[in-house]
Structure formats: C-alpha cells, structure tokens
C-alpha cells in the first residue's frame, strides 16, 4: 500500500536521473541478450549434430581432399550403414556478400545421411535424375524468392567457371536446430567437369559423411577408418559430427570466450550504474532516513524502501531492455549474412538470465546504501549535511 507509493514517489524524485539509469540498464540488457544470442547461435551447430554420423577428413587439414577410392573401403567396415561425401564448393552467388553453404554432394545418399532435411519423394527423384539440378534450403529459397524450376548461376572460385543449377526441390528443416540454408548439388556433375578442365583434381572428395548403425561404436569405427589409411598418401582424421563441430567452435573459442566475458562485464556495468544511482539517492535522503527512524520505522522498513526502489528501477530497465531486444536482434540478424548462423534466435534461457541478472543487480545495488542507512545513527543523520 503506502510503502509502494512512497517507493514510486522516491524513484520519480529525480526524473532525469532515474530515466537515464533505466535507459542505461536497458541498453546493457540489450547488449547482454545480443551477445548471449550470438554465443548460443555459435553452439547451436554442436547441439544440432547427430551422434551417429562420422566425419572423415584429411588428417593434416580440412582443405586437402581425400581420394574417391576411400569410399568403398570405408563402406566395407562392419557397422557402417551409408557412406556419403561432400565438397565445399563456395563460389559467388549474385555478389560476395551472399554467404550460404554451397556444397557438391552425393545425390544418391546425402538425404539418407541427413534425415533432418525433409524433402518430398518426387522432388528427390527429379533431383537425382537431373545432373545439373540442385536442392535448396527453405530459408535461402525464401530469402532470394526462388522456387522450383528457377536457375541459380554461381560464379565458381574453387571450381572456376560459370555454373548453372536448376532448382528441383526445396528442403524443409525437421526442427529449429536444423540448418535450412544450404544449397546442395551433384558431386558427380562437378567432378565430371573437373575431369575435363583440371584432370588432376578429378575424384577429389572434401570429406566423407559416414552413417553408422550404432552410435556407441563411433570411437571404434573412427579408429578403424583412420587405421585403414594410416601411412597412405592421404591419412584421415575421423570424428563424430559433434566432435567435429566442437572443433570448429573451439577454433573460434577466443572470440566466444571474449563474448562470454563481455556479457558478464556488461552485468558488472549495470551494477555500477544502478549502484551509483542508489548510493546517490540514499545519500541525499540521509536526513529523511533519520526522520523515519525517529518516528519508529524499523530496519525492515528502510530495507524495503531502499531495496524496493532499486528493484523497481532494475525491473523497469530490464523489462524495457528485453522488450527492445527482440526487434533489435531481428534487425541485427538481417545484417549478418544468411546462413552464417544457421539458427539465430533469443533462447528462453537468455531471457531468463537477463531477467534474473537485472533483479539480482537490483538487490545487490541496494546492499551498500541499505547498510549505510542502517548504520548511520539518528543523531548522525540529523547532523549530516549533504
């Protein structure tokens, strides 16, 4: 009742200061949510990866190819269900800023090893039947307003020349962690043209994707595959897709770590902003607190008065920040190249952390002023000159 009214009136005493504090907190919350969202987006790839898929790559570096001949040898290992493969094609679509994965894949098997890419039977059949056709992720189709039958022209760089692909299907993601931003076309088509133009690169495979029957055997089968090509011209490194993704994330870990650190630095900044405001206003009210105590108000009342004001400001700042974070993150998303982060959205846990952090800060920022107010005796309070 009355106390709430008093808290509100106290908070509005310095309207500009309170407004600036609330804005400061909300900007910090926006930055926090944005950073956390980027970090989660980074890890989403790891989350999305399947445990029953192994990735076989060249041991020295990802950029070196593997021979096509490995395919049958891998397929012969017991426990291996399907062997598929892919090459990083890259190329330029429209201009260099259009970034999404363009991969040359084995048309026969790719949708078996990636069951999370949903496609109709008829689309799959017409894709398999036409060598220069492609399948497009739903998000990319939507972004570039492309439909089945359209032709996409890619200016090759790793695979020089002009490449035309006719769209024969649009795949849908099975769930929200599925990447719906890939463009997939026939490895055989690319390989055939390479055979004519740069025969030395014919039969190059970027990496193999091995679907195994039992995920528990992933370590064993990985060892067997690598043992098979030990001391050969192209040794392999096989790991689960999850480990592979983690490796990728780890290679960028300095960035992620700094983002993580930064998101907590931001929480520290909010704390300082609010703490400063609370200390200033409590200091100005030293005399009033002495009056309250003189009239018989207790520790509990003063704690409620100061803590309540601090919480009110932090809740308003946090609420405003979250409210603005969603449209801002949407705006931000439109600036990052499509497909750079397959999944980019504010997770509920981020919202939860944002809210709890704001409230926790509301409490912590009040601790010092409350302590001060309680420690100051009435006589000292009345003698205080601001």
């Amino acid at each position: 009742m009355k106390v709430l009214k008093l808290i509100l009136k106290n908070a509005l005493r310095h309207k500009l200061r309170t407004t600036l504090t609330i804005l400061g907190i909300s900007i910090a919350v926006i930055a926090f949510v944005l950073l956390r969202t980027v970090v989660t987006a980074w890890y989403a790839g790891v989350e999305a990866s399947a445990a029953n898929r192994l990735i076989v790559r060249q041991a020295v570096s990802f950029i070196f190819p593997l021979p096509y001949a490995y395919r049958d040898k891998i397929a012969a290992i017991p426990g291996v269900e399907t062997v598929s493969w892919a090459n990083w094609f890259q190329g330029v679509y429209i201009d260099k800023n259009q970034f999404f994965a363009r991969l040359a894949v084995d048309a026969e098997t790719i949708f078996n090893v990636y069951p999370e890419f949903l496609i109709t039977q008829s689309e799959l059949e017409s894709f398999k039947a036409e060598r220069n056709s492609c399948i497009l992720g739903q998000d990319i189709a939507k972004q570039y307003n492309l439909k089945v039958g359209d032709v996409m022209t890619i200016e090759g760089d790793i695979y020089p020349g002009k490449w035309d692909f006719v769209i024969r299907g649009i795949y849908r993601p099975r769930d929200k962690t599925t990447d719906a931003t890939q463009m997939l076309f026939h490895w055989a088509y690319v390989d055939e043209r390479m055979r004519q133009e740069q025969p030395i690169r014919a039969g190059d495979v970027g990496w193999y994707i091995v679907k195994i029957k039992d995920p528990n055997q992933s370590a064993l089968i990985s060892q067997q595959i690598d043992a098979l090509f030990k001391n050969s011209r192209a040794e392999t490194k096989t790991e689960t897709e999850r480990a592979f993704q983690q490796g990728f994330v780890q290679s960028t870990s300095a960035i992620i770590t700094s983002m993580n650190v930064l998101s907590f630095v931001i929480i520290g900044i909010i704390l300082l902003v609010l703490g400063n405001t609370m200390i200033m206003s409590a200091r100005e009210r030293t005399r009033e607190f002495a009056v309250f105590k003189t009239l018989g108000f207790s520790t509990y009342h003063l704690t409620g008065l100061i803590g309540g004001e601090s919480l009110l400001i932090s809740a308003l700042g946090g609420g405003l920040g979250l409210f603005l974070a969603f449209p801002i993150i949407q705006g931000f998303e439109s600036f990052i190249p499509k497909g750079f982060f397959p999944i980019f959205q504010v997770e509920p846990i981020t919202v939860f952390f944002g809210v709890s952090a704001a409230l926790l800060i509301g409490i912590i920022a009040a601790v010092f002023p409350i302590q001060k107010a309680l420690r100051t005796s009435i006589v000292e309070g009345f003698r205080f000159v601001g």
Binding site: L6, R13, R287, E288, L295, G296, F297, S377, V379
Partner: protein
C-alpha cells in the same frame, strides 16, 4: 503533579577517534507532567544532546533517563524505536517533512506503524491537521507551503499519535516573527488545552517566555 521525566546523573560524551568530547556533565533534572519547559543556552552547550537523550534518539554515556516509568537508557534499539513511536512527538527546527509526501501523508506516516484502519487513520490525520489550522491544505506538498505552515504540519505529525511528551528543538529558529508567534501560541495551546508535557530548546527569549519554566545549560552543566 508527578515527575514524568527524570534525568538522573546523566553524562554524555562523543568520541572523535580517540579524543573524548564531553558534552553533558552529570546532569539531573525532573520535568513534571503537564509542564512546559524551555531549555536555553549558548550554541554548543549541549541543549540538543540533552533533548535527544530525553526523546530516546540517543543514549547517555552514564546515568539514567526515565520517562513515564520506563528507563529508556536500558532499552535495546528496536524496543526504543517502538517506545518512541508510542510516547514521543518530535518537532525540529527544519521541519523535516518528507518532500514527496503531501501534508496529509506526512502526518499519516507515524500512524502507519499502528494497527489503525485506513478510515481511522484518515479521521485522526484530519483532526490533527485541523487542530493546527491546516484543514484546507491537507493535499499540499511541503514545497507548496510556507515555513510556518510546514512547521504546523510537523506539529500535526508530532501529535497525531497522541504521545506523552513533545520535544521541540528550536521550532521557531527558521521562522519570521509572525509565523514564530503562531507556532508558539499553538504549542502553548497544546500544553494548556491538551495537557501535553513539552520540552522546547530555544535561543529566543520571547519564545522561552511562553514556557512555564526556563532552564539554562552552560558548557554541559545546568545552571
């Protein structure tokens, strides 16, 4: 008449680091129920300090302060706070109203600690504000009132809980002559009509004249 306030051999020192600053030296004084006592003396003589001890917002270094049968020098902090809320009304030189609250809300403040219902509180606040002549200004904020009016709101706040004693520290110190005389008339009335025991610290001999009894403090001693 019996002694409602009994200050017995009270000494008070403040400490600044390791330096002892003696303020009151073994003071004893009794105030009878219904009395109106003026405390005078030069600046720094310890008037405020003595008043604070009697009102229970400070504690003596030595000696006892007994008010209406309670030895308040023996009470703990929260018991003392409860005692103050029930027994003492405070009037300060600088009014000490809460600026964000209206006259009504300021006067209501001490009643929030009681069990009174909202309508009972309202009735009591209105009575107190009418008594000090501010029945028409209940919803004004302190900054919309003159100094004299602010002090009258403070007096209403002091009497709204119907305390045993009223303490006033230079209640007219910040007021012009006319406002000061209005405040003094009001205090006289509280003493004669409502039988409040009042202790008032003042520098002003005219103010002291209104009291029934005048005592002087000089460097921590009653003379």
């Amino acid at each position: 008449m019996s002694a409602i306030i009994s200050v017995q051999n009270v000494s008070k020192s403040y400490w600044r680091d390791s330096l002892e600053i003696p303020v009151l030296n073994n003071i004893s004084i009794e105030v009878q129920e219904g009395d109106f006592l003026a405390l005078m003396g030069p600046s720094g003589s310890g008037k405020t300090t003595l008043l604070n001890l009697i009102a229970g917002i400070d504690k003596p270094s030595k000696g006892n302060v007994i008010v209406a049968g309670t030895d308040i020098s023996k009470l703990g902090e929260s018991a003392l706070a409860k005692w103050r809320a029930n027994s003492v009304g405070f009037i300060f030189q600088f009014y000490n109203l809460i600026p964000v609250l209206t006259a009504f809300e300021n006067v209501e403040l001490p009643l929030l600690l009681t069990k009174l219902s909202k309508s009972q509180r309202k009735k009591q606040v209105e009575t107190a504000l009418t008594l000090v002549g501010l029945g028409e200004r209940m919803y004004h904020y302190p900054k919309q009132l003159s100094g004299g009016q602010e002090q009258r709101v403070a007096i209403a706040r002091a009497i709204v809980t119907d305390p045993v004693i009223l303490v006033a520290d230079e209640p007219t110190g910040d007021l012009d002559k006319n406002s000061a005389s209005e405040i003094l008339t009001l205090m006289e009335r509280l003493n004669s009509e409502f039988k409040k025991t009042i202790i008032m610290v003042t520098h002003d001999p005219h103010a002291a004249e209104k009291a029934k009894q005048i005592r002087h403090l000089e460097k921590g001693d009653l003379v």
